[in-house]
Symmetry: D2
Subunit: 438 residues, 4 copies
């Protein structure tokens, strides 16, 4: 068997990171072909990335063939692993996801609030098509999805698609573990964080260092705001003593949007007035990155890439693939079907949780009941996600309105309505399911 | 057996209503003694009420003896039914529950938000003492609780008390049914609303008229803002078409605090600037009521009483007692232990639901899974309630902070902290459980 | 609207009972047309019954038209209620269900053991066809099913059919209530038994007389073997003191097959050697009944009919229909979808339980967790039923073998195999789903 | 820290096996002291074992100190690990557990049927005392329980004791894995069997070889009766093709008692008539073993020991202890609290399942819903266990009778009564909880 990896959204500026990850793991995970796939609009970027990727494997002296194509179905044939990092509508769409809520004084973000909801609406149908193709063309291949909102997308595919070999990954748990290792000054390998919850709404219930519970120590040290583990894209000043002592768990950086919303809104508005939306900033960053990538002398991932919010996503993805390939059975944090792991959530939803990763796929470690302090809020967030998924699949405006209203970042009857109307209109082209029958 | 009813908080301005209810139902529910109980501070009011009550039964020519006492334990001996309508700390405390949140730009109310949480903290320990006395002195008696927040209080008693003959009642479902009868122009007896949810967070999932589903009609008519069923104390302009069509259920008036919070806040602030808090308004109204009550010529419940928010509470209570006494087995809406009725909530929590009322107590009609549109928000609200109850019983500041933060009307890390500190300090005297060991 | 009732299996010897029930309830339930439907083989019986039924309504002087037909679909058009009391394969098939297990020294009966399993296999596909016709021809009509095994049949229809207006009824709860009234010497109307469990495996958890718990008294009196409530077809000597005191619940007569199996087997074998199977006895009884029915002078249900095991089935059915028609909302014991009523069983299974019966259908009273003493055995029996239903729908031999093996009346690997092979062969004609693709 | 192991029941004939296990693992699990504890009656055996153990460690040249004592509490002080392999009432009691049921024509065995139930009744109170001592004297120590019935004992301790560091182990999963490795001719390390169920009622749901599903192959090969994995004490001729194909899972040897009961009864009766009960055979074997153990030249575990049914129990125990000590995080099969791992069973019960074993204890891999084919029978068996535990703790005859009656190996009203009376009387001395208040 020749190990073949397909990267959907291969023209992404993040791709060099995953290429580096594959090169670094070549001994345990000997990929022989990497097929980069993108759409017509991304053609130019795709070629730039393909060029850089080819130089990278040559420099590293690995027998990996890099191909690039706009024909997804051709690429999928014979694949063993597929990764997805697409952005339906591009950064222009993200800009709208952010700007329109901000214009109403509401937080919108590509995974949270109204922005995240609309990103899900655009993305889910496209990924469902991809999973359908996989079921037909490479039924044994695993899809490692890190397209955001990763939890909702993974759940939609597992609920509505036939292809079941799907794992969602996120860099946040990875970041948190790395951050905690720094805080405790110990090896990241010795640390296990018991993650409970949902993608971008996950808590670290316990920190174990070589099996010894160090949660209280980490919580105590987090009271010092210089001890943080936030990714580059979330500006956070940390958490109050009261919060940390009351919950005695590790929040994740995205919790700021929910529990420190006023602060976050202020910061986002300020940043917006100064630099435009995060999407606009990112477009700028991307343009510069691609300028670098084009440089024929560049034969490695440039360090600038690490400063983006998504850094380590590809590490998370490469680790999962390597463990499946080698049937390692080590513990990693992934997005998988709940199936009783958390007894307070329905079986068929997707959770972010620790699981053994091996050739038969992920097997989550049982969690049982959620801590009382976070049970309700996690149930609420999952409910929002389920409503969004139904809306995305069926083009159902009622479900969409319900999701917006119930979402803690919207919550107002009139606001939910206005955001729904404006964002539907703004994304009309990328939301055919809402307009087909009108 | 001589049928004896004890009214805890007998000096309340609402008591004439319950007296009237007892008189009206005398043929089916022949109470022979009504013992009015209050505390030292309420002595004067108690006497006024006792006087009025005596005149009322005389006028009605019923052989009911009215007694009044400050000795609760003496009154409880031999009781068959006990009702509770107390207000620990009085309207002065309510004023703080409202004013302090408003001063932070947050909604606080006696059953919602930080105000409701602190009312629960003050009330639960006192009612637990009452239920303990009942277990000792009148173990077969039923406690009909309409002390707010009625759901939380009932849950706390059922979870932490030994006396299990406890039913919580509220006037909201009663109001909604009456309101729907008007909207549909039909007899209230022909209407059944399938209530699902929690006290002050209940939805009408279906409206049946003689068993025929008329939900869509009622929802449609609610789009006309003149069709309302809100009690006197909640100023509401109704719900948008979008909201009503999307949920296809009947919201209750208190939902405005959650889904139309901006509006409600604005209105509450305006009212506050003009007239002070609702508590202050109510103090005024009460003073006037008691002036009337003192009038020796008054031999009936004055009509002004009906204009208060709590109207029909006593109707709800009297109906429950009459059905228990006669083993009627009719359907009423009460607060009882879930015990599987709603499968998405824990067994031991209290829900507001339709139940058969008979001599063996309430037996809820099975509901099953909550509608997807409201599942998460109901789970969240219940979680808040559970945290509050733990805080109230144990004087646990961590639980209290969690409850405040998770509550949708607070939700901000810093605000939760400030409200907690200010309100704890303000209610210090009535919250010994938080200070005993300091 | 002209109220129309269709009786599928109208040629059954039980039909006069249901005719009588309809006549007796005419004032509250004014049926204008009763269409008797049967298959070709039952043509002669159908005509005899139609004749008798016509004489009965004439004698009673009610304006009810009796029709009879072999064309089921024609009859269903315009129906408001449909009852079903069919026997696929006739008494000949029942004879095999009983004889073949007995020949292996095992209990087989038309609702229990291997016999009941095979009756389900034959019956479910036929009733599924009927419910399909109803969905098309009379979508608002209720199917009141008393075809045995009533629980499994009802569950299969609700799981695999589109027509959801289906209620299963059984005479056992009716018998038990009547029997308990006699034991307590009080009016049957004053008695409520809290039934929990499954059809033919239901327990009476509590006996309430006017709301007062009299369970202990009834259990005590059942220790006297003359106090019984078994139907005519189950010879039982009652239960031991040890059993009754340990469970403190009312067993139903069919429990004898499970907890007194040795006794029952002995009695069944003895009866078999003396008179052949119960099926053969019944054939004899039926022949005699039909001789009577033919008599043009007979204008009433003959009393002999009451001595059969199924007596009161039609009372149960008529009560349900009358309450639906009048939206009565009284409590009756029916077979309905669990949907959380018993929290230890899956949502989609059918249970036998107390429910309010009204125009919108049955609404079960919440039960919560099963008593620990019977939880496991009820879960086991339900599991057997679920396996049987899957086997019946899909013609799945693996599921059938599992069901037989897990069934407490079989339980032996080799016996399960032999019974499966022999009974499949014996009923080959009536089990096309197992042979279609062979 | 000096690693100290306490062996309760140190005078058992199995002890040399665990001593060998400790010696073999010395490099990873450097035990420095093994304290053998037994009761007065076992004094002589204890000394023989202590002598042999001392010779074994000397031969192996390991710095392990062997001590022996009758004072349990003294031994427990400072312990890191405690194992338990006691037999309350000794083999004489086991003899009664087997003989009395057989005398009624029923299967009784030390873990199944009435025999297993009574072994639990005798054992649970004693182990509860041990766990109480541990909580006081060595609160951080882990109790590795392999006293049978291991599942029920572990559940009783976790439910009713304060010491929560308790893991139950059994040799059956270990045997099955070894047996499957032989059947598939591959390394045991490469095999993982997904075990679901209860101790002695566990199924192998899937067999993975290096992550690849080989279940169907193993099931196919098990049809050849020479491919077996039964321990020495269960004579089995394997399973029929029908059974294996229908369930498509691996049964465990004890399933023969339930699904091949007639066979097993016949064999047990035959063996009984020839050699007396298994208990009597074992007494004979033990006498011979101890004769060998006394021999001063013996410095190793004699091979005869492996031919007993309990072989590998100590391997299972040593593996668990080694992984806890080293925080290994490998997957082993243990008896732990369910806590949602199997969603069809209550949270607080104990299941036998695969778990990661590390310093923080066992963390089970989530299972979700049980396969439909075995759901009910596992729920039934667990219900029996819960009833037995309640009976054992409270000396409750009602619960005991319920457990016996519901148990598939008893199931008859009269038999349950007779077995209860005879066995209670026979074990009177060891069942003080049933007689204390008489």
């Amino acid at each position: 068997m020749t190990l073949k990896l397909v990267i959907i959204g291969g023209g992404s500026s993040y791709t060099p990171e995953i290429i580096e990850g594959i090169i670094d793991r070549y001994d345990q995970f000997p990929v022989r072909e990497i097929a980069l796939v993108d759409i017509e609009k991304g053609k130019e970027k795709l070629q730039i990335i393909a060029g850089l990727a080819t130089r990278m494997v040559q420099k590293a002296n690995k027998p990996i063939v890099i191909t690039s194509t706009l024909e997804r179905r051709r690429a999928l044939r014979g694949a063993n692993f597929v990764t997805s990092q697409i952005r339906v509508g591009g950064l222009k769409a993200r800009e709208k996801d952010e700007r329109i809520p901000l214009s109403y004084g509401a937080l919108g973000q590509e995974t949270n609030g109204a922005g995240g909801i609309f990103k899900a609406l655009r993305t889910i149908p496209v990924l469902l098509e991809i999973s359908k193709d996989m079921q037909e063309l490479c039924p044994d291949a695993w899809l490692i999805n890190f397209t955001n909102p990763a939890g909702m997308v993974t759940e939609a595919l597992l609920k509505y698609g036939k292809h079941k070999r799907i794992i969602g990954v996120c860099n946040i748990p990875f970041n948190m573990r790395t951050g905690v290792a720094e805080i405790l000054q110990c090896n990241v390998e010795d640390i296990e964080i018991e993650f409970v919850g949902l993608n971008h709404f996950v808590f670290g219930r316990r920190v174990l260092v070589k099996g010894v519970d160090r949660t209280a120590t980490v919580v105590e040290r987090l009271k010092d705001p210089t001890n943080q583990y936030a990714p580059a894209n979330i500006v956070s000043e940390g958490w109050s003593s009261t919060f940390l002592s009351a919950f005695m768990m590790l929040p994740n950086p995205y919790h700021s949007y929910y529990f420190k919303g006023a602060d976050m809104l202020e910061k986002n508005l300020k940043a917006y007035w100064e630099n435009g939306t995060r999407a606009e900033v990112v477009q700028q960053v991307e343009a510069e990155l691609f300028k670098k990538y084009e440089n024929k002398d560049l034969e490695e991932k440039p360090t600038e890439l690490e400063q983006r919010g998504g850094a380590f996503y590809s590490d998370a993805a490469c680790n999962v693939m390597t463990s499946i390939y080698n049937n390692t059975g080590d513990v990693q944090t992934v997005n998988v079907q709940n199936n009783g792991t958390i007894s307070d959530l329905p079986d068929e939803v997707v959770i972010e949780t620790n699981a053994l990763i091996g050739a038969s796929g992920p097997r989550p470690i049982s969690i049982g009941a959620l801590p009382l302090s976070i049970r309700g809020i996690i149930q609420l967030m999952k409910n929002v996600e389920e409503l969004v998924i139904e809306a995305a699949i069926k083009g159902d405006r009622e479900r969409l309105y319900q999701a917006l209203l119930i979402n803690p970042l919207v919550r107002e009857e009139a606001l939910a309505h206005d955001l729904m109307e404006d964002l539907l209109e703004a994304h009309k082209e990328d939301l055919p399911q809402f307009y087909q029958q009108a």
